[in-house]
Structures are given as C-alpha cells and as structure tokens.
Amino acid sequence: MVSWSVAAPAVTAAFLASLVEVVEAFTIVLAVGTLRGWKPALLGSAAGLALLAVLVLALGPLLGEIPLEILQLVIGVLLLLFGLGWLRKAVLRASGYIALHDETAIFAAESAALTAAAKRQQARLDWLAGLTAFKAVVLEGVEVAFIVVAVGAGRGLLLPAGLGALAACLVVLAAGLLLRRPLARVPENSLKFGVGVMLTAFGVFWTGEGLGIPWPGADLALLVFALIVLAVALGAAAILRQRPVDGAKP
C-alpha cells in the first residue's frame, strides 16, 4: 500500500501538469466543435485517445524490464530536459520576454485557420477538422503520458500519477461542458511556472537516485529541491523584470 505522503508529490505534479496540457487540447477541440460540429471534434479526439492508449499499452510493460537505477537515471535526465525547458519559458514569460499563453487567442487563431480552410476546400473540411482535434489530443496527450510515467515510474507510482492525470481531464471536461468556451481564466502561466519547478525538482531527485546519491531526508529532499528551484526561478524573473538584459531588443 502506497502512503499518501509518498504519492502526493507525484499525484500533484501529474494533476497540475496534465491540467495545463488538457486545457490546451480542450481549446483546440472546442474550436473544432464550435465551428464544424461535434462529430468531427469527438471522432478526432476519440481517435487521438485510442492512439495514445495503444502507445501506453505497448510501451508501458517495457518499463518493468528496465533495472530501477537505469530507469531512474533516464527518467531523471528526461525530466531535467523537459522541466528546465518548461521553467525557462515560464521565467521568460513571467519577466515579459515571451508573450503570456492566452487560450482565448489560441481559440481565435484555430477558428480562423479552420474558417480559412473552409473557404479553400469545403469537401474535405470535416476530415481536416477531425484531424485538427486528433493532432491536438495526441500532441498534448504525449506530454501527459510522459509526465505520468516520469513522476510515477521511479517509485512504482504509475497508478496514482495516472489517476492524478485522469482527475485533471475530468476537471477540464466538466468545466468545459459547463462553460462551453475556452478556459481562459485558468491561471495557466502560473501553473506552468509551478509545474516547471516540480518537474525540475523531480528531475534532480531521480537523476541523483539513478547516480546512487542517497538524498538526506529521502523523499523530503524533493520538497527542499522544489523550494530552492522556485526561489531561484522567481528571483531570476524578478531581476529580469527590473533590469532588462544588456543587448536585449527594446
């Protein structure tokens, strides 16, 4: 039986990261459904989910074949690459160097693209609309699947992490069904900042475990890493906001 104190960081990270990804996929599926009807939107989404399920079912059992230390090291390094990339963008967003993520703008852009496609090729439009939904679900879903595996596999927490991701899907779907418009009020940029911090902290933790480093305080070290990474990232964002980098374009 997995204790909550061990599972909580993995479940929380999977939930928050999945929330961000599912909101992004939902925005595009909503644009497809609103403009071209729900049949291509739902068919495309269902096909995307089916492809993801096949990928997870095909690749999932292979994880059990990999020695734990190697699995932790590989996942730790991948988490560092993914988490640091995410956090870098979040810091640049928070300090004004990259435009903030805006679901309303993305919804408008997807709608415009579908409308333009409608003018060009009416006959194939439902197919194109379904494909748009399919791509959104697959591309965002690949990230969700990776995050679930990455935060869950190192300690046998795949199921709790998967439940965290599933809960995020249900929350977004429920909110989307109620509102029927892009979930623009989700604090996506703050969430991305937090998730970048958590993924980076997990990356340091698993990479260290994979290298044979016995972290003082065991799982509590994860929390300390998250706080340190958060402090450094917030500090960097604050400094960049106050003092633009020399040579930066106006």
Binding site: V77, L139, G208, L211, I228, A236
Partner: protein, 73 residues
C-alpha cells in the same frame, strides 16, 4: 508518415527545444557520473547536481532574454 513526423517534432520540442540547455544537462550528468565513479562523495555529487542544474537554468534564461528582448513594459 506526416503524423509521425509531427509527433517526433513534438518530442524533440519537449526535450531539446533549447539545444544549449540540453547539451549542458547531458554534460553535467555525464561528468557527475564519472566523478562519482572516481570516488567523489555522493553528497557532494548531489550538491553539485543541484547547483549545476540551477546554473544551467539561469544561463539559459539569460541567453533567452538576450535573444528575445523585452516585449512588454
């Protein structure tokens, strides 16, 4: 095939959007693995890993800021 290319591009974007950052992380982990193998105390290895990751983050953010310039206020 086009879908496969799109998925591969997404995976590349996930792990290597900033090539300098990715190479620095791989170099850090590789050097630490060597140092630990040569007898570096594990706790020092852990401290260097955390410090190295933070240094890579700051360097990458700094490079990104120089390249992008400010868009707001």
């Amino acid at each position: 095939m086009k879908l496969l290319r799109i998925i591969l591009a997404e995976l590349r974007g996930m792990f290597a959007a900033d090539l300098g950052l990715s190479l620095a992380v791989l170099a850090l982990v590789g050097l630490l693995a060597l140092a630990l193998d040569q007898g570096l105390a594990p706790l020092w290895g852990g401290a260097l890993l955390l410090a190295g990751v933070l240094a890579i983050l700051l360097a990458s953010v700094w490079r990104g800021a120089r390249r992008l310039g400010r868009r707001r206020g």
